[in-house]
């Protein structure tokens, strides 16, 4: 749906700063968090399933086969076939590839862009900062789904376009988070020292401010992936997903639910479960990372 859930709202000043020294401690803390381990396992297995799976389980995901539609699961098609005769299990792998690609790529682009925007704003003069943050507020006021509906009705959806539009609505939260961190960091001694030595602003941003916000960014990025996958599913349901022969989990699920009353359960539950598992996995990872990095909240 969105990344707002993952952001800690308007009070980012309380968020942790990490250094490589407590990075190790954080990793140890992460390993103690059972949900985090479960999340990591889910995400790794999903990635293997989607990207390595097709090497072991060969199916034709390009050509339709209208003599083989709606077959129930059996020895030839482990999860049956869909309304166009595609093997459902193979399609889950291919569809998962695009869902994961869009989710991960959009999260990375959004995080990188948001980090730079937020760091520049937080480190700039008050007027520039104010203008840059009003831009963020403005974009946050427009429901992402409306923007996406609009863009997707103008252009035919492709994987790069979906990555672009999902990033376009996802960079706002990371930018707010990083700005909050930078407002604190800019007063710290090492940043002041760097400025006294005459280090340029861009270099301070790249060498000091962003690396010191990396903890927050990593936590947020894992939530972003989850939200991007969900957003993509909603878009597909609204008819703006990838057109065939390409596939994504959301599109498969929304096709499947047309047959909800025909008893073709294998078209409904597998893509739904795949989405839920992956989104839960990324959320578990993000939560575990956040708890691991927040020194103050650690169990003593």
């Amino acid at each position: 749906m969105t990344a707002i859930l993952s952001a800690e709202g308007p009070a980012p000043a309380s968020l942790p700063t990490s250094s490589s020294r407590n990075g190790l401690a954080a990793l140890r803390e992460f390993r103690r968090n059972r949900l985090g381990i479960v999340g990591a396992l889910i995400v790794v297995s999903m990635a293997l399933f989607c990207f390595v799976g097709p090497l072991l389980y060969h199916t034709d995901q390009i050509h339709t086969n209208l003599s083989q539609v709606h077959l129930p699961p059996g020895p030839h098609h482990l999860l049956g076939t869909d309304g166009l005769g595609y093997d459902e299990l193979g399609r889950l792998m291919v569809g998962g590839q695009s869902s994961l690609e869009v989710g991960v790529a959009a999260a990375l682009i959004a995080t990188a862009f948001g980090a730079i925007w937020g760091a520049v704003a937080g480190f700039a003069k008050p007027l520039t900062d104010s203008v840059m943050m009003r831009v963020v507020d403005t974009m946050l006021s427009v429901p992402p789904i409306l923007l996406l509906l609009f863009l997707a009705t103008i252009h035919r959806p492709t994987v790069p376009l979906l990555i672009l539009v999902v990033s376009l609505v996802s960079w706002l939260i990371p930018s707010r988070l990083v700005r909050g961190e930078v407002l604190v960091l800019r007063e710290r001694e090492f940043v002041r020292a760097a400025r006294l030595f005459g280090v340029g602003r861009p270099q301070i941003i790249v060498r000091h401010l962003i690396p010191n916000s990396i903890g927050t960014l990593v936590v947020n990025a894992s939530f972003q992936v989850a939200d991007a996958i969900l957003l993509l599913a909603s878009l597909s349901y609204l008819g703006l997903g990838l057109p065939p022969p390409a596939a994504d989990w959301g599109g498969m699920l929304s096709n499947g639910i047309n047959y909800l009353y025909s008893g073709y359960w294998w078209l409904v539950y597998p893509p739904g479960v795949a989405i839920v598992l992956t989104v839960v996995g990324f959320n578990f990872i993000g939560d575990a990372l956040r708890e691991a990095l927040e020194v103050r909240l650690r169990r003593r």
Partner: protein
Amino acid sequence: MGHFLLRRTGQALAVLFGVSVIVFVMIHLLPGGPARAMLGDRATPAKIAAFNREYGYNRPLPVQYLRWTADLFQGDLGYSVKLNEPVLTLIGQRLPGDVVLVGFANAFALLIAIPLGMLQAFRRNRIADYVATGFSFVFYSMPIFWLGLILVVLFAVQLHLFQPIVPQASIGQLLLHPSDIALPIITLTLVTIALFSRYVRSSTIEALTQDWVRAVRAKGFGELLLASRHVLRNAVGPVVTLVGLTLPVVVGGAVVVESVFNYPGMGLLLWNAAQDEDYPVILGVTLVVAVATVVGSLLADILYAVIDPRVRVQ
């Protein structure tokens, strides 16, 4: 407080200006511009040129922007050729439906999420926390249309408790028959609980690390009194902001919920508009929702400042 109000209202006005620019840019991003939005994609170049001349769309963009905003202030949000009605009328018909849907979903979600999130924080990393976290993660992670359909199968098809599809009637009539609109509200509520409860959980955990909590405990207060008298106020503050800030998210969910249940709100209007490429409606709804969000988060921030005086001094 006066200074805070002034500054925050100024920000909201700046954001409103930004929103109007975005929508204006969107109109002009359309291939063919506003003429295509009005005339449809089969309009000939000659027709488009004539339309542009007649309505002043060949003038410089800043002039057009001023005219467009002047129209907005007079309530002219454009005209839907597809539905043959002014956009404002269309939105006016659907808005009450959204107020009911989003309003009830937010209210129920808050009533459940605040105690739930606090319970999770007090029982952190124990069975109750894991169970509640698990459920809210699953609800949050389900594509909302799928959750809606599962609820339909469960409550409408199997148990015959609620209507699977909202009947076509005005929102006033629907309110008299709560079982007709129960499912869309429940669906949106479940997702919103998941959204809020995690937030309450982490803000409560943070409140519990403060020194005054130790002081209250040392005074011999029980956990229930500690929660209700002291932690609640600290944990709820951020949630007020969250309600304002998540309005676009909840509205996004409402778009999908409305198209699942055929619920008569702006979301359904929007979905139909997207399928018909009815751009004046898409842009009109975008504008209305964005303005509602800006005003909503302004009110939320003012409320937050009333609850928590620390916010005012910055």
